[in-house]
């Protein structure tokens, strides 16, 4: 599946299985000019101890609202609705995914980094408020 991007910014994409579990999260950052373009090949299946698992890509965050993003030439919400249907997600999971909602990954073994994006955004907002006052 091809993710096409125009403009700079950060994307967070979570790959869910038919039960709505996040198997992988990708954070994709591109920087350059507002006219730059990018392409990223995203997996359709992931292999775990349970075998090959079909996944759907859920766009959960986009830092720059002006950045244009498509998944297989469709809007991410339209893509994930179709893909969720293909892999057998329940309607509720597909609806949540189309709204950009999927659980955070929870690595239980090996390496991990704690999600810090919300805290970082809060810190940056507080610093910006401090500069304005």
């Amino acid at each position: 599946m091809e993710i096409a991007i125009t403009g700079e910014g950060e994307l967070v994409i979570r790959y869910i299985d038919k039960d709505g579990r996040t198997l992988m999260q990708e954070r994709l950052v591109v920087s350059g000019s507002p006219t730059m373009e990018a392409r990223h090949l995203a997996p359709q299946t992931l292999q775990t101890t349970e075998g090959a698992t079909e996944v759907a890509a859920v766009l959960v965050r986009r830092s720059n609202p002006r950045q244009r993003v498509t998944f297989d030439r469709q809007a991410p919400a339209a893509y994930v609705r179709r893909r969720c249907k293909e892999i057998g997600c329940a309607a509720k999971i597909a609806g949540e995914a189309a709204r950009g909602r999927a659980p955070e990954p929870e690595p239980r073994i090996g390496l991990s980094v704690a999600p810090d994006d919300v805290a970082l955004a809060r810190l940056a907002a507080a610093a910006a408020r401090g500069r304005r006052s």
Binding site: T22, G110, S112
Partner: protein, 141 residues
């Protein structure tokens, strides 16, 4: 016209919820148009952070030796409108200015890292973060 200084950067981070038997390949590109003037690739660089914990889910198997690269494959392509003219391709790392290239219409930064897989009962836990950038100047020929 000439575009002046151009920056292209890509970062990809992958976090997995559970141990996996394959790590998907990373393939990402960033591109920008040029005006066909004199393009000089000033710098190409990449970095990678990754750790892998490889193990067997069966006690009668032992994980074999394993080594993963500490870098990613990064290159910059200068592409011409005339597709019969082959692209100029520069590899990372490079921290000195390239010879000038006249007439290129697209500058493209490509980043790749390996797909990796193991057979059952092997399995691994990993986290991968890679980043690459290129700085290019387009000046009047």
């Amino acid at each position: 016209m000439a575009k002046g200084p151009i920056m292209l950067q890509i970062e990809v981070e992958q976090i997995f919820s559970a141990p996996v038997t394959t790590l998907p390949e990373v393939w990402s590109v960033a591109l920008e148009s040029l005006d066909g003037n004199k393009a000089i690739v000033r710098e190409i660089a990449s970095e990678k952070s990754q750790g892998i914990y490889l193990f067997a889910t069966s006690s009668d198997h032992v994980a074999g030796d394993f080594e993963m690269t500490s870098s990613v494959m990064t290159d910059v392509w200068l592409v011409f409108n005339d597709l019969r003219r082959p692209p100029r391709i520069f590899h990372a790392p490079s921290h000195v200015a390239s010879p000038p290239t006249v007439g290129a219409r697209i500058v493209l930064l490509r980043v790749r890292d390996f797909h990796f897989g193991v057979d059952s009962p092997g399995v691994f836990s990993t986290l991968r973060r890679i980043g690459s950038h290129a700085y290019v100047d387009e000046v009047l020929a």
